[in-house]
Amino acid sequence: MTNRRHFLAAMGATAALAGCAPLGKSARKAHVVVVGGGFGGATAAKYLRLWSDGSVRVTLIERNAQFISCPMSNLVIGGAQSMSHITHDYAGLRDAHGVRVVHDTVTAIDPATREVRLASGDRLRYDRLLLSPGIDFLPEAIEGLAGQEDRIPHAWKAGAQTTLLHRQLAAMPDGGVFAIHIPKAPFRCPPGPYERASLVADYCRRHKPRAKVLVLDANADIQSKKGLFLAAWSERYKDIIEYRPNNQLLAVDAATRTAVLEFDEVKADVLNVIPPQRAGRAADLIGSRLTNDRWVAVDWQTAEVADVPHVHVIGDATLSAPRMPKSGHMANQQAKVAAAAILHLLADLPPNPAPVVMNTCYSYVGRDSAMHVASVHRFDAAEHTFVPVDGAGGLSAVASPAEATAAQAWARNIWADTLA
C-alpha cells in the first residue's frame, strides 16, 4: 500500500510537470452518483464526502423535496405527534457536506457507459453508482387494490399517506372497525405493523373506546417482538385489538372497504392495507436479475451488485443477509459499509475485510411506552455475508416510558447522522 501511495504521489507530480492543465483539471475528482435520499442514500452521500475529506464529488438524486421519516410516523397516525416532527430537509447535506442535491427522477441507467439519465433530460457520468431505492408496492397481487390508495391507504411510505390515514382514523365513528392487513414477510420494518396497531388502539382508547382494531396478518405469527406486543395488547387493549394470523388478503372492494380473505370477509370503516413489496423500481434500471423477482442481490462486503460492476445497492431493496431486518437504521449502517468500500475501490485499495453493522429498532406500544430489538452483524469471510454475532443483541425485558424517551433520542440522532 505504501508503494501504491508513493506511486500515486509520483503520478500527480508527473501530471503537473507534464503540463496537462490546459486540458482542464490536473486530476479529475471521482464522481459518485447516489440515487434515493432516504436513510440509506442520504447517509451514503454524507459519509462519502466526510470520509474523502471532500475529495470525491457526490450527486444525490431524490425526487421528493423533503425527507419524511417512516420511523415515528405511526405516532403521527395515532395522533401523538405532528408531521413537522418527522419532516426534514436536505439543506445539511448540501451546505454542511457539499453534496450536490438534485430533486429529479432517474429514467435510465447505462452501466456500460456509466451514465445516469434524469427526467429533466440531464445526463450524469459516474465512477461509482449507489442506489438506495427503497421499496415499491405490488398492489396488483390483491384484486381491486391498485389505484385505490386514497380509499385504502398503505401509509407504508411516510408523507401524504400518513396524514390521510390519521384523518380516516379521526373521522371513524366510535364503535367502528380499523382493519390493518400485513403482507407475507419480507417487508419493510418487521415490527412496524404491530406498532401501528398499538398506536391506533391507543388513540381509540382515548377517543373512540368502543372501536375495534383488527390485525389481519398473512403470516402465521407476529413477525417481531411477539411476546412484548402480546403482553402490551393484553394489558392495554384487551377489548380493542384482535389479532388474526394466517389471513391472506385476496381482494378488496374499495367502495365498501371490504377485505376478502381466504376464509372470511371483513367490512371495515378504515382499511389499511400494507401491500406486498419489492425493491424500488429504480433498481430495474441497472438490469440486475432480482432474487424472487423482488430483491437485489449484493456482495455484502461492498454492497456492489453481483452482476453489475461499479453499481452498489443498499437498504430495503436488497436481498437481506440472514436475520438482517429491512429498517432505516440498517440502511444507514449499510450506507457506511458501501461508502467506505466505494472510497477504497476508487483508490484501488482492497475493501475493509471485516465490516460490522448493527441494528436498533424501537417500537411504541402506546404513545408513552416503547421497547427495542437490537442486533450486531459481522461480515463472515467464509460465508461472504453478514451473520448475527452470537450472544449479542436482544429485546427489551418490558416496554417502558424510559425506552419511549430513548426512542426519541434515537430518532433525533439518526436523523442528524443521516442528514445533518
Binding site: L23, S55, L346, A374, V376, N413
Partner: protein
C-alpha cells in the same frame, strides 16, 4: 476511457479519478460509525444520548465492560457491547478519544 485515447499516456493518468488520500480508512473510524445512529456522527450526540467524542479511551472501555458484565444496568447497551470483540472496542474507544467534543474532526 476510450474516447480520450488520443491523449498522451501521462495525461490519461491525470484524468483518472483522483485517488484522494489513497490511504485505507481508519478501522476505528469505520467501527465507531456504527455507534453514530444513537450517539451522533463522530460521537457528537445531538441530545438524549451520551456524547462519546473526547471521552478518554480507558474510561469508555471500563464503561463498556461494566455494561457487558451486567455491573452497570442498561436497557440496550449490554446487548450491543457484546457484539464487538475486545480489539474492536479498543479501536472504537481510541477513535472517540481522539475526536473533539465540539464540531470538527480531529485528525
Amino acid at each position: 476511457m476510450k474516447r480520450i485515447a488520443p491523449l498522451t499516456l501521462v495525461c490519461l493518468w491525470a484524468l483518472a479519478p483522483a485517488a484522494h488520500a489513497s490511504n485505507a480508512l481508519d478501522a476505528g473510524r469505520l467501527l465507531a460509525a456504527t455507534c453514530a445512529n444513537c450517539h451522533g456522527t463522530d460521537g457528537r450526540s445531538v441530545g438524549g444520548t451520551e456524547s462519546l467524542a473526547g471521552v478518554p479511551g480507558d474510561k469508555l472501555l471500563r464503561k463498556l465492560a461494566a455494561f457487558t458484565s451486567g455491573e452497570k444496568p442498561a436497557t440496550i447497551m449490554h446487548q450491543i457491547a457484546k457484539g464487538y470483540t475486545p480489539e474492536q472496542l479498543a479501536l472504537i474507544a481510541a477513535y472517540f478519544a481522539a475526536q473533539r467534543p465540539d464540531a470538527g474532526v480531529a485528525r
